[in-house]
């Protein structure tokens, strides 16, 4: 059984505009899948559908065998098991770094303060930010904030991680520090779905690459095949543009 199973998902904004067209794919446990494509292709929308942050009108998505659309599904409980990292970090600005990491552990998982705190500190250690534990998000750089955001997601002990353009809002010199954390995570066997234009990251750790355009999954292939000879013209054009320099 795949960890994430997306089956014939379609989504419309209003009656006319279709943002997702019949998308089907599956992500196995421990698999790292990179989703790329031109802006407006629906890749961010698709990844937000996986933890039901965005509603969709047709098709089914199952995470760990649980159908999102099933009315008996406890969505908050399911979401707590899926980590998500956003383009703009979305740390909670009024909470210290430690509180950002502890909030959902305590309120959602019901962990005790001590338990949550020790988990938080060990994760901050891991992303190299222990000495910033008592600062506020606004006092950290973008790269540091994004590493905190990854730690916050990991604090929930997720079964899979979703990354929505995690490095797009970062200055170039900060991209590496975030990618390093992600690479390490991938090598540890985390199931990951990553929307990104970082093809170097894709080459390094992805098992598969999904290419989307105009709401459709155009290619869904093993990494080497994708970078070797993408079958679709659109993927070739896209790759030639982003790999040109």
């Amino acid at each position: 059984m795949p960890m994430i199973e997306i089956n014939a998902v379609s989504k419309w904004y209003g009656p006319q505009f279709q943002v997702l067209k019949d998308c089907t794919t599956a992500i196995e446990k421990g698999e790292v899948v990179v989703v790329c494509g031109p802006s407006g292709s629906g890749k961010s929308t698709l990844i937000k559908c996986v933890n039901a942050l965005e509603p969709f009108q047709a098709g089914t998505i199952r995470v760990d065998g649980i159908n999102l659309a099933d009315p008996s599904t406890d969505l908050p409980k399911l979401r707590a098991r899926i980590g998500m990292v956003f383009q703009h970090f979305e740390l909670f600005p009024h909470l210290k770094i430690t509180e950002n990491l502890c909030l959902a552990q305590e309120k959602v998982l019901g962990r005790s303060r001590d338990e949550a705190m020790s988990r938080a500190m060990s994760l901050l250690d891991r992303v190299g930010l222990r000495e910033h534990a008592h600062k506020f998000p606004g006092q950290l750089s973008g790269g540091q904030q994004q590493r905190v955001a990854i730690a916050r997601a990991l604090a929930m002990d997720p079964i899979a991680m979703l990354f929505d353009e995690p490095t797009s809002a970062l200055d170039p010199e900060m991209i590496t520090e975030v990618l390093d954390v992600m690479v390490e995570l991938a090598r540890e066997g985390m199931t990951m779905m990553v929307v990104t234009h970082e093809m170097g990251f894709a080459r390094k750790v992805a098992h598969r690459v999904i290419f989307m355009d105009k709401g459709e999954i155009i290619e869904d292939r093993p990494k080497d095949e994708f970078f070797g000879t993408p079958r679709s013209e659109r993927a070739q054009i896209f790759l030639s543009k982003i790999l040109a320099h």
Partner: protein, 243 residues
Amino acid sequence: MSYNWNWGIFWEASPEGVGTYLTMLLMGLRWTVATALLAWVVALVFGSIVGVMRTLPGRTIGIVASAYVEFFRNIPLLVQLFLWYFVLPELLPQAAGMWLKQLPNAPFWTGAIGVGLYMSARIAEQLRAGIKSLPRGQAMAGTALGLTTVQTYRYVLLPMAYRIIMPPLTSEFLNTIKNTSVALTIGLMELTARARAMQEFSFQVFEAFTAATLLYLALNAIVVFGMRRLEKAVAVPGYIAGK
């Protein structure tokens, strides 16, 4: 202008039999403060509920909340107080109407709740604006962590929204204090009413209203000072508003 200035008037016995004119004004100030504080609590509680309702996705909830806001902000405060004080008791079943009319300190309760509800519409609009000014990703991040809608508002959205709207909230607090003077029309003997009474008894109109003015200024200065302190105390280190 032949006007007989008499600044010593404040220390003369008031015709009410107890205390001086000054104690009379200070008793008025006490009612002003009590009315304003209760009105402020009412405004914050109802304004927060309605303001949050206006940001929820549900259609019906949104319609109910905007009807509330439009009702309370589009009818003059004076008319609203008359409605609550003179019209409402007649519309209720007889027993309830009688109970309302015979309520001890009825002008105080009606004035405070009336002003509070009127102000709550304004606070609701500001809170809505504060919540809407937060990046959409904040609510998403809370939701993605597994927080429920209530938890997301309680721990993520509202703490920042209230901080953002603190400066306009200060103005609304001052407006609440000033608006309690309208309650003199339903018989509340607050500061403005007391100043008028003093003028009628003593004919020292300038002294009476100078004193009232200074007392309002002092009261509002305390509020401004307190709210600034609060603003500083809850300021978020490193946070740049509107970023």
